[in-house]
């Protein structure tokens, strides 16, 4: 008496293949639309950097200029602004910050994740609270302190507020918590000190977390304008965004072609670094299939 229930057999193979195809098209359509939306400003930057000034402000939207003006724009940018210097500053600052962040955060995270000591939970709560404080809050006291010490206009001044990353501590703690206690105990029985356990046993397993954090940290500090603007007035020390600002003010006026050419040059290292890290990223994640 019951109504016929559709079974696997009633769905024809062709029908199911068509359905799968349709859902694939739908999913990829959505993803492509999202990607285009994200990439649009970037594409616009690339296009503008090869347009002559006359075309930049024309009302029509063109993805390729009538007159190729890229060589002139890029040469102008390279000649008028020390772009490589800005990029080098960016590398120095990002690397310095990242290295110290890792040196500080990894042992902290290990202690919070794996060692038993009174006040551990309180410290972790403080770390979580630290996550809620924006950089602008301690900017004033930091600036005054650096000024008093005569450290304004140094690489150190640009890096010091970021040496201690509560985000890194939080991220690594979560990662280390799933590291097997037995392995740590085995290392203790083998005679390792806690420091050696951190660096030789636990850290090598944390590459995916370290790679992820390195991407966050580098992107954030490569693109940071706020803090360098406060502590740097010497154009020789300027990281990319601040350098761009100096360049825009002094040299180019409203030469947007050259400006976007400079921006392209300064973004390239970051994009390249990210693409390389992304490779390692995936390697790292598949490597954790280790039991």
């Amino acid at each position: 008496m019951s109504a016929p229930v559709p079974t696997v057999a009633t769905v024809s193979p062709a029908h199911s293949a068509a359905r799968r195809f349709l859902s694939l098209v739908l999913i990829h359509g959505v993803l492509v639309a999202g990607a285009l939306f994200m990439l649009a400003p970037f594409i616009w930057m690339l296009v503008t950097s090869i347009k002559p000034p006359s075309e930049i402000f024309s009302a029509e939207i063109a993805l390729w200029p009538k007159q190729f003006y890229g060589v002139e724009n890029y040469r102008f940018a390279m000649e008028k602004a020390p772009l490589l210097r800005f990029a080098l500053n960016g590398v120095i600052i990002c690397a310095g910050i990242l290295v110290v962040q890792l040196l500080v955060a990894i042992p902290c995270a290990y202690a919070l994740a794996k060692l038993e000591f009174p006040g551990r939970n309180l410290l972790f709560v403080l770390v979580l609270l630290g996550l809620c404080i924006p950089v602008q809050v301690p900017a004033m006291p930091l600036y005054i302190g650096l000024a008093q010490l005569g450290l304004l206009n140094t690489y150190f001044a640009m890096m010091v507020p970021f040496f201690l990353s509560v985000f890194a501590i939080f991220l690594f703690r979560q990662f280390f918590r799933s590291f097997p206690d037995d392995i740590i105990n085995a290392a203790r029985l083998d005679g390792m000190s806690e420091f050696e356990i951190v660096w030789r046993i636990v850290t090598p397993s944390a590459w995916p977390a370290i790679a992820a954090f390195a991407v966050f940290s580098t992107v954030a500090h490569w693109n940071d304008l706020y803090w360098p603007l406060i502590v740097i007035s010497d154009a020789k020390l300027a990281p990319p965004p601040l350098g761009m600002m100096f360049f825009a003010d002094a040299e180019t006026g409203s030469n947007y072609g050259a400006l976007t050419a400079a921006a392209t040059i300064l973004t390239t290292p970051l994009v390249l670094a990210f693409l390389i890290a992304r490779r390692r990223f995936i390697d790292g994640i598949t490597m954790t299939g280790v039991k």
Partner: protein
């Protein structure tokens, strides 16, 4: 080589008391097994011996020397973990060499870059290589030395863990359920291998398991634990033949011991299912006594049950299990609301019983174990012997 002495070791986690004053004397070169149900504190006890956990009270001595102030690696013990605990990013060779590099190289000789400055390092490393090769050869790991742990099977990982423990020639091996992640066949194989390793090394082994078969087959002595105390300490046959309490009797032996409810009748005489037996106890009349009967002491009774010193009851066959060399027969107690009984017997005997058949099972009364209502073992006294006493056996 060393003795291990535990005196009244106590440990609590917060409010839960995990170990309540454990005393244990382990002889030099002995294979002692800690066995007991899950959560009884075996791992905690072995971790205290290793120095990975600190006891709240009591003392640990190894080789007669107190070690409570020593850190784990200073105690000359090695430990094998249930999860193997191999270093995942190191090769088998590096895993086995690690304890040696830790003890034979100074800190600066282990540091990257700085170590290149040490001329001595090369000779030390060559010695370590030789020792690793020797240990690997003993465990048939030679061809696996360059693999990572993830590329090994469970049994191979277990052997690497053993190799890492062996290379430093510790006085005491601590093993926390080292075989429980292996499949049944490999477990049987590794059981033999471990027992042989123990014989070859002559070191003291303390072995934790919740598998009573492992405890029975490998150990010189077994300590049966429950709720943080040692219920009985003795050789495997002592535990099997004279369990000190109901819990020990139920835990040791496979299939588990059959328990039948008896009661104390007039004059201390035991009654089973209303029939008087030829056993008597000191207990007051009307008290309940558990009668423990091992599955191999049960036998089929053909015809009218008779004979002094033998008890019998009727049962109905529920299921036969064929183990090849023998059969396990599962019976329901006919018409009684009780868990059934199991009987181990030869295929020839088992062939005589058909499914759902009503049979009579008998056993030798002298071969059964008696337990009072509180679970303590009680000894029967012969009928008419007024002065016989109850002998609670305690380890």
């Amino acid at each position: 080589m060393a003795t291990v002495t535990l005196s009244s070791i106590a440990k609590s986690f917060g409010a839960t008391r995990v170990l309540g004053g454990v005393d244990l004397d382990i002889a030099d070169g002995e294979f002692l097994t800690l066995v007991g149900p899950s959560g009884c504190g075996k791992s905690t006890l072995i971790r205290i011996i290793a120095g990975l956990e600190h006891q709240d009270g009591g003392a640990v001595a190894i080789g007669g020397q107190p070690v409570d102030h020593l850190r784990p690696h200073e105690r000359r013990v090695a430990m094998v973990f249930q999860s193997y605990a191999l270093y995942p990013h190191m090769s088998v060779r590096q895993n086995i060499a690690l304890p040696l590099t830790m003890s034979r190289l100074k800190l600066w000789q282990r540091l990257p870059l700085l170590r290149a400055l040490s001329g001595q390092r090369r000779t030390v490393m060559r010695g370590i290589e030789a020792d690793v090769a020797a240990a690997a050869a003993q465990l048939q790991l030679d061809h696996l030395l360059d693999r990572k742990p993830a590329q090994l099977s469970g049994g191979q990982r277990q052997r690497v863990a053993l190799g890492r423990a062996m290379v430093r020639h510790p006085d005491v091996f601590l093993m926390d359920e080292p075989l429980s992640n292996l499949d049944a066949k490999l477990r049987v194989h590794m059981r033999t291998e471990l027992a042989e390793l123990h014989k070859r090394l002559g070191a003291t082994f303390i072995y934790v398991t919740h598998d009573q078969v492992e405890a029975m087959t490998m150990s010189d002595r077994v300590a049966m634990m429950d709720s943080g105390t040692i219920l009985q300490l003795g050789t495997p046959s002592q535990l099997y033949e004279r369990p000190a309490s109901l819990k020990v009797a139920q835990f040791i032996g496979s299939p588990a011991i059959n328990l039948l409810p008896a009661s104390v009748g007039a004059g201390g005489r035991l009654e089973l299912f209303g029939r008087p037996m030829s056993l008597a106890v000191q207990q007051a009349q009307g008290q309940a006594v558990s009668l423990g009967v091992r599955s191999e002491t049960l036998s089929l009774v053909h015809g009218e049950p008779s004979g002094t010193g033998r008890a019998w009851f009727s049962a109905r066959l529920r299921r036969k299990e064929n183990l090849g060399s023998e059969y396990i027969l599962h019976f329901d107690l006919a018409g009684r609301d009780l868990p059934g009984v199991t009987m181990r017997t030869s295929p020839a005997q088992a062939a005589g019983v058909s499914e759902a058949a009503e049979v009579t099972l008998g056993f030798d009364e002298a071969a059964c174990h008696l337990f009072a209502a509180d679970g303590e073992r009680i000894e029967p006294r012969g009928l008419g012997v007024a002065t016989a006493s109850i002998v609670p056996l305690r380890a």
